[in-house]
Symmetry: C2
Subunit: 453 residues, 2 copies
């Protein structure tokens, strides 16, 4: 099997580069055609890999690509999930090379989506090809690659419900997460949920002269800043009433285990070039970024943002605000709590609008399941080290839905690194990680089939 | 004289419209050529009006137009000041008609600069023409129209110092302010000063994934909001140490006089469509907008502001912040106090940059001076009502400099209205106000010459 991968090394890489050249940004409607192009490219590669069939399924939003290779009803079935859409690439000016013209530098692939998630789901297509070419496929394989993960998978729920029968499987394998380091393999056993809203604070019916009206009329930017500031107390606790009610507090043992993962605060600060970390009082950085909920402003704008100075008192100000959720918070519930609270703290001098974007439930998977063991054995075999179970800070809203609709757990066997700049300029993915994934995935199938016997 | 104005009514208006068609935005370098075009237009019209000479004087920034008509050294000399530059017109989408394609609707001229200040200084050129054509000029006239008022007149100070002799005068007449209403004439006897800064809060060395780092690393937008919110207490008092130290408090009598000006709070709120006013505890809206200092965010930006949702933890956030100052605050001093304070409240998890833009000193003029009396008599004659002395909330930083360098007071005899949308989309200027100004200005010259006898 390793021979096959080695013989086709360059082609495996070039095929990924071609995929990375397609600017499949789901959030921005001007890339709609590129989204379709990407979907077609994925479908064709799945067929070439040797699938029985692969098709593009339309949805109310961007299409889903689905393919399958069913070799024996008696064997277990693994559903591969990934997404071909990527985050917007702006600010473009901060990229050292154009985001959709992949370049290879010091053993890394630089391009938007190189790791999140094109590079990672494409490993599965190449792994499938490898297993089929070497007659070593031990499970039935179903592959579902969606196009709306970065905008909340708004239409995948409907798709999964509609094709529940077709998607029936024993477990779901997802590569959209990270390992601690190339010599410290790890598997994410938990993910944070997400509530994402856009808020607007409206003052006067028009922009005003800050001299004529300044001091007497509410400035929506100042008001928005005050409202946002009031959402956390001086200890970094979120002040929205009821926000923490359902938060699952870890036991002392769980906290110890979690903090046992290798982590060097100084290195962390140096790598980010920050003077200090900042977060919720009483928790470590590992905890703050994995098992504690957050509230972050992801974007803010209002007034004059051009060159020079304009003494305007703007009529409105906007912000995009997201909250990462932990078990057992519910994204819809938190969205309601936020909206109610945000509206309640607005002074009479302004109007406030809150528009919910997408959300997602938090997720945890047990480490004693067959599928977890299979992933553990696969990584141990390919890395030569037993992977550490970690809790991730990111969100893959869909995994909770899979559990509900398909009745099975997802395994988050990702191969990225924290230095991959996901969602940032100069996103990259290690060549080592790409091939290591292609090597490891077949081992998962092997061990999973054996354990299921 | 009225006949002459009446006979040339249309031409007077069309000449202004041509000037309004030139997008002379001083803040944005891409309009540099239009700035020059506007200057040349003004110079040519001053010559046509009958001036002895008019020239364009280069400065380190945008040029100054200067012209003069000296009829008799024995007569008093009046210096007219105005500015041909305008505020940026964005957001363009909020204009009902293109900002630089003037249209006349219900007796108003709609265009950027129609009132501030093209419409108002151009009245003086037409008044000069009228006085010369009707042999009724009673003073020597000097006209200085600059191109950097909206960006702080950064180079006019040098110009005034360099040409002190040429600019020598007995008083300065400026039309860049408002009257209370078309049937309630008023003269501004005070202006607020201005300190304008741009701030940047920098977190990590790159944009981060808000899931992977959220909760553990400072979010510059959240931090900026908290810092801005902390600049005022719950009563709307500014918390910068020393900010109020030199603020001139009005006597009870002065406050009574100031609040005697006709003002209807309900009408004010309805006109702006706001549920309530907002400002410093213990002061009326008139006081908050004229004799009290302010702190307003004029622009803010950071993170993802495009369509849809991006879960980014941005590396920096910026804001433009201005403070309106009152006697006897000093703009440089306040700028220093702000900078020191803002840097001091930044948490260790971020870096902060403060870049000063332009500033200006506050200004007050006595109501018992010859020039004030002349303006009062002129307005009383043309409006049929004695004008009310008011205190303006806006800033014309240069008047304090005039007093220092030229040793004389400025008279702020403006003809705008609060509904003119200065600095806002759909700026407009009343046709009534334009012609009323052209009628009133010659009366000022008449009374001023008589009073100086």
């Amino acid at each position: 099997m390793l021979d096959y991968i080695d013989k086709n090394r360059d082609r495996f890489l070039n095929e990924l580069l071609d995929l990375l050249r397609i600017p499949s940004v789901s959030a921005d409607s001007k890339f709609k055609n590129d989204m379709l192009k990407a979907a077609e490219y994925v479908r064709d590669r799945i067929l070439e890999a040797g699938a029985d069939r692969a098709e593009i399924y339309e949805t109310a939003g961007h299409p889903v690509v689905y393919g399958e290779k069913l070799i024996d009803p008696a064997l277990p079935t693994v559903l591969i999930y990934g997404h071909y859409d990527v985050q917007p690439a702006d600010p473009y000016e901060l990229w050292d090379s154009p985001p959709f013209e992949p370049v290879i530098k010091n053993e890394r692939i630089y391009a938007r989506g190189s790791c999140d998630d094109k590079g990672q789901f494409y490993m599965h297509i190449k792994a499938l090809e490898t297993m089929l070419a070497t007659n070593s496929l031990t499970c039935n394989v179903k592959i579902m690659i969606e196009g709306e993960e970065e905008i909340g998978s708004s239409n995948l729920g409907t798709f999964v419900k509609e094709y529940q029968e077709m998607l029936k499987c024993d477990t779901i394998l997802i590569s959209d997460t990270s390992i601690i380091a190339n010599d410290v393999p790890s598997i994410e056993t938990g993910l944070r949920g997400l509530t994402y809203v856009e808020v607007e604070v409206i003052g006067a019916n028009r922009d005003l002269h800050s001299g004529v009206y300044g001091g007497g009329v509410a400035n929506p930017i100042n008001v928005l800043c005050e409202m946002i500031a009031s959402l956390k107390d001086k200890n970094g606790h979120i002040t929205i009433p009821g926000f923490y009610d359902k938060v699952e507090e870890l036991t002392p043992d769980q906290r110890t285990a979690l903090n046992a993962a290798p982590f060097d605060l100084e290195e962390y600060k140096n790598e980010l070039q920050i003077g200090d970390v900042l977060g919720e009082e009483g928790y470590t950085t590992i905890e703050r970024t994995s098992v504690r909920p957050t509230l972050d402003v992801n974007g803010i704008w209002g007034g004059y943002i051009g060159e020079g100075a304009k003494t305007v008192l703007p009529s409105k100000a906007n912000a995009k605000i997201s909250m990462r959720l932990v078990p057992n918070q519910n994204d819809d519930e938190i969205c309601e709590l936020f909206t109610k609270h945000f509206e309640s703290i607005a002074p009479a001098s302004v109007k406030v609008k809150v528009v919910p974007h997408h959300g997602g439930l938090p997720y945890v998977t047990p480490t004693d399941s067959v599928e977890y063991k299979a992933a553990e054995m696969a990584m141990e075999e390919s890395f030569g080290k037993k992977p550490i179970p970690t809790r991730g800070g990111g969100s893959i809203p869909i995994v909770a839905l899979f559990e509900r609709e398909l009745g099975c757990k997802s395994i988050l066997m990702g191969f990225g690194l924290d230095i991959d700049n996901l969602h940032s300029p100069n996103e990259s993915y290690g060549i080592f990680n790409y091939y290591k994934g292609i090597e490891t995935i077949p081992l998962f199938f092997k061990h999973y089939a054996e354990l299921k016997k």
